[in-house]
Point group: C2
Chain length 377, copies 2
Amino acid sequence: MVKYVKIKYELIKKDGNARLGKLITNHGTYDTPIFMPVGTLANVKMLTKEELVDAKCAVILSNTYHLWLRPGADTIKKAGGLHKFMNYDGPILTDSGGFQVFSLAKNKAKDITEEGVHFKSHIDGKSLFLTPELSMEIQNKLDSDIAMSFDECIPYPATYDYVKQSTERTLRWAKRGKDAFDNENQSLFGIVQGGEYEDLRKYSAVETVKMGFDGYSIGGTSVGEGKETMYKMVDYAIKYLPEDKPRYLMGVGEPFDLLEGVQRGIDMFDCVLPTRLARHANAFTYKGKINLKNSKFKDDFTSIDEKCDCYTCKNYTKAYIRHLFVAKEGLGGRLLSIHNIRFLVKMMEEIRQAIKEDRFLEYKNEFLSNYEDKAKL
Amino acid sequence: MVKYVKIKYELIKKDGNARLGKLITNHGTYDTPIFMPVGTLANVKMLTKEELVDAKCAVILSNTYHLWLRPGADTIKKAGGLHKFMNYDGPILTDSGGFQVFSLAKNKAKDITEEGVHFKSHIDGKSLFLTPELSMEIQNKLDSDIAMSFDECIPYPATYDYVKQSTERTLRWAKRGKDAFDNENQSLFGIVQGGEYEDLRKYSAVETVKMGFDGYSIGGTSVGEGKETMYKMVDYAIKYLPEDKPRYLMGVGEPFDLLEGVQRGIDMFDCVLPTRLARHANAFTYKGKINLKNSKFKDDFTSIDEKCDCYTCKNYTKAYIRHLFVAKEGLGGRLLSIHNIRFLVKMMEEIRQAIKEDRFLEYKNEFLSNYEDKAKL
């Protein structure tokens, strides 16, 4: 492992706009596109690093806002950084806290100024003030491999004028964050905003790229804007991003969204979906999601997917997992988290193989023709 | 591994009344005395078999009453027995359901007849009727390595007359259970009752032994009767138990109780304590229990016990585990469960080594002189 380098991205080949690449980090080199599970509070809920490694996870994501509140950036710095604190030696990406400020702030009340955002803690209502500089300071202390710029997650829908002003401010925040950034071991990604407006997306992409970040994210809004709008925003922005840097679509983890994202040239995805679904007894399968609480699984002594190579499928039956959920035993959520994460990680392996063999669209069509969850497309 | 044999116990040596022995089961041979973690609902809460094996667990216990209600004995029988259902290939002991009927029945209301006990489910209030024959039928279906006789957990305190009648009925129930027992792969233990009365304990022990069980448990009461009374009940009964069969003290897991029990000649203990304490952020140490939520651990980047060989102590700091509990992350309970189980299992390893070297009392005194939790002695 190479220490103390900014991450590098190498494009290996393209199949349409889908990209097979390589992400070289301080904590290992991984082929892209990848799915990154979320470890909000310095742990992927219920799981240990061995389970993440066993599921062949590459990068995991952790949340700056949550860690700022608990246990605090200074505690993690004293521990020697997030990797040591949580005992994970793969790459870690931290978000900027921006999304949480807009989605989690108590009563959703916030006061956006040029300087930063005033809001109240979702835990105890305490007044907080997050700025681009503070987001960088916290992320620098966390010492993740990849830090994210602090942006405004624009409400949806919003007027052209509001989005324009917000996008311009996010550009100023990106510059301030970049100037304040002070950790030579860490990379910093810019975030393209611009809402649903084509010219603003272009403007944001071009100006963000001019600043020269180590990678680029295409930011969404603070609420679900609908799939069509999301893909439109990706289409508007992605053509202005450089080929030699990774592109990251935040908060996306539904199988069909991974396929749509890869098709447009996205390299990195993250989502709480696999672990959140797991805690509610839902498992991904190639035929769609199944709910393990369903009584039809009471005496079903087969695994969730006989062909799946995850720990859960190799060791436990649907009947047993159903029993754990019916009896409210936490092991159920743990076992399904392992399966769901492995499912998305394995799907990305298959996608990479398909790109390699110039048959990404074929893979996508075959996947979707088997997947019975199309209502959400 | 030998299949289809009743368990065997071989006494290796004694140090005072403390016994070093060998328990030969259908699922492996283990030195005794042992501590058995509890997997009430066919799982030791939050943990997998690999973690139990890694903590060097021998037998684990599962609860007949709970499994009878969920998922039902027939589902487990269809799965091929409890080992296959829960994916654990070490030995499993099931209790009879007796204790739960007396401790968990809705509103504690129950109607004890000669035939059995009428009571209501703690889950949905449904009327249930458990008899010695039904307890055996359920346990036979679960196909545990060791089944327990169905007994009445006598209230405490209780009059001599009540205890006498109850003890006599428990003997009749033991006989009926033994007659109904129908699983040649499974062993059956008798339970000595008799409350706090010396002559009734003797009577119960002698009569139970006459029936010829594969091992013997010294039963307590349905409520905490106090340590002194518990040890008195053990003392009254244990001298009448045969040397060539294992002796089991149910529901005991405090370190000082393990020491007191071993000193009196007990070979097997079980308790929910290590996992229950873990879920409340408490960890065993050789200096007494510590609560990981304590703010003094905020920046303590050492493990719970630097000398402990458990997975948790080898990989995680007190500061990290504290953070998990403060942030209400389930991984905290999982990590402490591993530590606490390993602590008791390792303590039994040390006890066995001490017996081997004829220094059990020395070990006990040294342990207790370091252990700052003596209020409970």
